[in-house]
């Protein structure tokens, strides 16, 4: 049960209020139609399965309904930081 700091609400809340969306920082290609099938498949399906520090996207679903990013250690489950959409991680 994580204890998560929402960068928008600016407080720690229980994991029950959140839900995880997936790997962070995957931008939708600006011109999908110009991509080959392989390139599109890479955007669509290929995700990291990192052991260690990992950037993932979360949603404060039963809270402010904002999406935000989290740097989390997938081994220890330590949350290093959470930050707003559009911002870059400081811990990598």
């Amino acid at each position: 049960m994580f204890y998560i700091y929402c960068p928008y609400c600016e407080e720690h809340r229980e994991e029950e209020e959140f839900h995880v969306v997936g790997q962070a920082h995957i931008d939708r290609p600006l011109d999908p139609d110009s991509l080959s099938d392989a390139e599109w498949a890479k955007y669509l399906y290929m995700r990291k399965n990192t052991r260690g520090l990992y950037q993932e996207q979360w949603l404060h679903a039963i809270g402010c309904r904002k999406f935000f990013n989290m740097t989390r250690d997938t081994v220890t489950y330590e949350i290093k930081e959470t930050y707003k959409v559009g911002e870059q991680p400081t811990v990598v």
């Binding site: 049960m1 994580f2 204890y3 229980e14 969306v21 931008d27 939708r28 011109d31 999908p32 139609d33 991509l35 099938d37 599109w40 498949a41 955007y43 669509l44 996207q57 949603l59 679903a61 309904r65 904002k66 999406f67 250690d73 081994v75 220890t76 489950y77 330590e78 949350i79 959409v85 559009g86």
Partner: protein, 1017 residues
């Protein structure tokens, strides 16, 4: 039966009855027989007092077993509790269950009963056959027989059974936050709590036992020249009076989860009665505390390690410290004559304790060559025989220890060096030192580390804000425990932001000097281990030293694999007693050190926990929220049966008296197409979308075009994922130039809203658009059928219902039955339809008005089932029923809903252009008409081209929707067929489980009114 092992309090040397109350006798039943005990007893102490030796049969060999321990680590004495069927609780340790008047329990192991056990003959005969991996090796093949084996094994071996009736008790959860959570109220925990409480920090201290004190409850040591129990009482009183401290006894901290989240299982009435019915208010039986702590201090102590020698499982073989506990805390001496086998000084206390009860100490057998510690001298002075440099290598006796064999061993403890001498005794207590109770520290993934000084694993590095004090660190002496407890308690509070307070020194506490213990995890025998008498390592799972050695010989090298192959530590006790010995034996037979071999990890829960406590109030009515529409009571009153759609309760159909389901559906379907039907459509998801970029946004998330949709118009849209696969659909209407109302499927509403937010917040945040769920704001009554216009005309005077002014796919605002309404001329039945939306509080009123005025048209309420049939007659899909995340709009033959010439590459466009999405022979949605019009193909049936083709057959697709259509007089079905859209008129076959084959013809999905004239009237 008399309590033959109960000390006569007035005669015993210290005149103490420990923690029992001899003025309060209690009667209870064990295995159907009456016994007596006292208030303060556990079932285990009472059974020992009564001289009950055998309390179960072992799991694999069915050997008789007795009580070994006095706490949570007990592997054998597992009870089935409960006087009635409804109050049955399996898996209760006799050592932790307090006695109460009328308690009923029995042993869980042993069939037909624990004294005469059928399986013991199998165990005896098959003793050498049942090697590790026996079940895997023997019962795996043939696989078909596994079910048969399993039944026998479970019946013979199981650890109790669950009740067959509803649990009448209440369980609940409580959420807590604190600065310092202290686990364990022994010397270290109590000192820590006292220290942390002083600082003003919010403290929770929890202990699994009935009262605080831990090992001090049976200790003979002194603090400030007084018995330790006096100190305990003083500290407990202090804590109870402190407003910032929550004291939880009978509360096991069972799980340590991420980010300092811990679960505490509190048993509130299990010590009072089976079931408390008469109380003015029903009492909570068990409570789960869900705690988020700033810092956690583990003061969980340590478990004594038994020694591994031949037949060390015969009843009467116990842990040394447990024997002391029974003597001091419960005034019970669990035998007449004692042999103590030890590797350390501390255990001598047990021989001394036993001596003072007036019963016989036969000898202390010490593995060390020349023990000279203070306690050793004390024992010798009392005249107790000490046999040094020796070990108990075997035990005689079947239902109870009758003697032991002692032999001298070499310095390393690996070889027998001398003669074997028999000793006569009925109790063999053993101590191989102590293993810190590191369990909780492991729960979040931290690996314990081996400490050679204390010969045990201590907590390893962790990222949790966790401190440890006392026995868990291998700190076993009282003074050090108190000092460390106090110091760590302070630190826990200061870590949580509180001010340091002065510390007491505990200078008056005088520790007994001890010599180092000997590392001895497996006592040798004259025979090699494989031929020696069974030397048990894990009593609950019947794992022997020979079994572990065999596992390593068979190639298992990782401790985790040895664990799984032998079942070491897999019992409900999680190997609290056996694990360290088992790891050491594994290490030795692999020629590795213990740190190299490592340890297995403990997982939640520390001790078994009831389902009641896990569920709390989340059961029955409160299991999941239920959502009701504004018209729900009307549906109930009118005999609706309900269907769960997500959390919504939707009317399924409205049977009249004596009607079968099919008769009701036929009536509802016919009435709707003939005159008018009414459906509660309130549950459809509704999302209000506003902003200057709302229209553009719709164009990006829907597959079709929205640029030209005028105010007052509605449009159907398909929503796809980036992979091009359909995931939701619905009608969106244009309320204003920058204002739209999107409808979604009932079950998909939350997901769609999140989907829109995801793209807006993370991809297109520059767009000005706002989304709001308005599902519950509106109540929706859909009237459908040729007479729906006439009906609506009776209830409105400001909506122009003329067919040319209020066209199909128009919406308009006005009043219905005097209530402000939005009316949409959209149709999911293919009939002339009006969807009347009013503010939810008016829903029932408008619904009743429609029913009242509809009477003359024989207005017929229908539910989801008729809705499904009517839409299927028209070939309308239901997202989630006819789609499964693997079909795109063209597979559905709905290319008309995809706009290829939108400038923005809308979600799904690139996905559905992938190579695999445009290949021929994809499964496509088609209609299917059975040869026999009366036959309805079961949904899920698989299509083949040739039912006589040998296996494996060439699979063509499956049926997604299938109904009897009363309107058409034949069955209708929709389903997927490979390349189906170009195979109209071809035959396919649906083989059924019963061997029959249903023949069907591929046809259009639109079975009724193919030109769509009925909705346009």
């Amino acid at each position: 039966m008399t309590q033959k092992n109960r000390l006569d309090v007035n005669k015993s040397a210290n005149k103490s009855s420990g923690r029992i109350n001899v003025n309060k006798p209690i009667s209870f039943r064990y295995g159907g027989k009456p016994y007596a005990g006292y208030e303060g007893d556990t079932v285990a102490s009472a059974l020992l007092a009564n001289g009950v030796d055998i309390i179960g049969r072992s799991f694999k060999y069915s050997r008789p077993r007795g009580i070994v321990a006095a706490g949570a680590e007990e592997p054998n004495a597992i009870l089935q509790m409960g006087a009635t069927e409804a109050t049955q609780v399996p898996n209760v340790r006799a050592t932790q269950q307090e006695l109460f008047e009328g308690l009923e329990c029995k042993a869980t192991n042993g069939w037909p009963n624990e004294d005469f056990d059928l399986m013991s003959y199998v165990g005896k005969v098959g003793g050498n056959v049942m090697s590790p991996g026996f079940y895997y090796k023997t019962f795996m093949y043939p696989q078909s027989m596994w079910k048969t084996y399993e039944k026998v094994i479970r019946k013979a071996a199981g650890f109790g059974r669950s009740p067959q009736e509803n649990d009448p008790d209440i369980y609940d959860h409580i959420h807590r936050h604190c600065d310092v959570l202290i686990v364990g109220a022994g010397p270290a925990g109590l000192a820590a709590a006292a220290a942390a409480a002083q600082t003003g920090a919010r403290v929770i201290i929890a202990d699994e036992q009935a009262e605080f004190g831990g090992s001090l409850l049976h200790s003979t040591e002194l603090i400030d020249a007084e018995k330790v129990q006096v100190w305990v009482d003083k500290i407990v009183a202090q804590l109870n009076n402190a407003p910032n401290v929550v004291c939880l006894s009978r509360s096991t901290v069972n799980g340590y989860h991420d980010h300092n989240f811990l679960t505490i299982h509190e048993r509130r009435t299990d010590h009072i009665a089976d079931f408390i019915a008469e109380a003015p208010k029903k009492t909570i039986r068990q409570r789960m505390h869900r705690v988020r702590a700033k810092t956690v201090l583990l003061a969980t102590g340590a478990h004594e390690r038994p020694l591994v020698f031949g037949n060390n499982d015969v009843p009467g073989s116990m842990l040394a410290s447990a024997v002391s506990t029974y003597i001091h805390r419960y005034a019970v001496v669990p035998g007449k004559s004692l042999v103590l086998m030890t590797t350390n000084d501390y255990a001598y206390q047990t021989a001394i304790d036993w001596f003072y009860t007036g019963r016989k100490v036969v000898a202390v057998v010490d593995a060390r060559a020349n023990p000279q510690g203070q306690r050793v001298h004390q024992a010798r002075e009392l005249g107790i025989t000490v046999i040094a440099g020796s070990a108990v290598i075997d035990v005689s006796g079947n239902h109870r220890v009758s003697g032991v064999k002692v032999a001298s061993i070499d310095k390393s403890g690996e070889k027998i060096t001398g003669e074997i001498k028999p000793l006569v005794c009925d109790t063999i207590a053993s101590s191989g030192g102590w293993s810190p109770a590191v369990h909780l520290s492991c729960h979040t993934g931290s690996k314990p580390v081996w400490d050679e000084k204390i010969l045990g694993f201590v907590p390893g590095k962790t990222i949790q804000k966790q401190l440890t004090a006392g026995g868990i660190n291998g700190c076993y002496r009282l003074k050090a425990c108190l000092q460390e407890g106090y110091q760590r308690g302070c630190k826990a509070a200061t870590d949580a932001g509180f001010q340091q307070m002065p510390q007491p020194s505990f200078n008056d506490v005088i520790d007994v000097d001890e010599e180092p213990a000997m590392a001895l995890f497996h006592i040798p025998h004259t025979e090699p281990t494989s031929r020696a008498p069974k030397q048990f390592v894990d009593l609950q799972n019947d794992v022997t030293a020979a079994g572990i050695e065999m596992a390593t010989r068979e190639g298992f090298e990782s401790i985790e694999h040895v664990k799984r192959y032998t079942a070491l530590g897999f019992g409900t006790d999680q190997g609290k007693l056996g694990n360290i010995n088992g790891m050491a034996i594994t290490a030795k037979s692999l020629n590795k050190s213990i740190p190299e071999t490592g340890t297995t990890i403990f997982r939640p829960n520390y001790t078994p926990i009831t389902f009641g406590a896990i569920a709390g109030r989340h059961c029955g009515e409160l299991f999941d929220p239920k959502r009701y529409t504004a018209m729900h009571q009307w549906h109930e009153k009118n005999g609706a049966l309900f269907e769960d759609v997500g959390q919504w309760k939707r009317p399924w159909y409205f049977p009249k008296t004596g009607e079968t389901m099919q008769q009701a559906l036929d009536r509802e379907c016919l009435a709707t197409r003939k005159s008018v039907g009414i459906l509660d459509a309130s549950t459809l998801g509704k999302i209000d979308i506003q902003g200057k970029d709302a229209r553009e946004f719709l164009g990006r998330v829907y597959t079709n075009a929205w640029a030209k949709l005028a105010v007052g118009k509605c449009r159907y849209g398909l929503m796809c994922g980036e992979d091009g696969m359909v995931f939701d659909d619905g009608v969106t209407s244009c309320l204003g130039e920058n204002h739209f109302l999107m409808t979604t499927t009932t079950g998909g509403a939350a997901r769609v809203l999140e989907w829109l937010e995801l793209y807006h917040q993370t991809e297109w945040s520059d767009m000005e658009v706002y989304f709001n769920s308005v599902t519950d704001h509106w109540a929706t009554a859909t009237i459908s059928g040729p007479n729906s216009r006439q009906l609506l005309a009776e209830l409105t005077n400001d909506i122009d219902l003329d067919k040319d002014n209020f066209k199909f796919m128009d919406w308009c605002e006005g009043t219905v039955a005097g209530v402000p309404a939005r009316v949409y001329r959209i149709s999911f039945t293919g009939e002339l339809s009006f969807e009347i939306n009013v503010q939810a509080n008016y829903g029932m009123f408008v619904w009743e008005k429609l029913i009242e005025h509809g009477e003359k048209f024989n207005i017929t309420p229908y539910g989801t089932e008729t809705m499904h049939i009517l839409r299927a007659e028209k070939g309308f899909i239901i997202a989630g029923q006819d789609t499964d995340g693997s079909v795109h709009p063209y597979d559905l033959n709905m290319g008309w809903a995809v706009s290829a010439n939108k400038t923005f590459s809308f979600i799904g466009k690139r996905g559905m252009a992938r190579e695999d999405c445009v290949r021929p022979n994809r499964k496509q949605l088609v209609g299917l008409k059975t040869n026999d019009p009366k036959q309805v193909i079961p949904e899920g049936s698989q299509a083949v081209n040739d039912p006589n083709q040998p296996l494996p057959m060439d699979m063509q697709g499956h049926i997604t929707s299938s109904y009897w259509s009363a309107n058409l007089g034949h069955s209708i079905a929709m389903g997927y067929i490979k390349g189906g859209i170009n195979r109209m008129g071809e035959k396919v076959y649906y083989p059924q489980a019963d061997g029959s084959v249903i023949e069907a013809e591929i046809c259009s999905t639109i079975f009724l009114d193919p030109k769509g004239e009925r909705q346009n009237v």
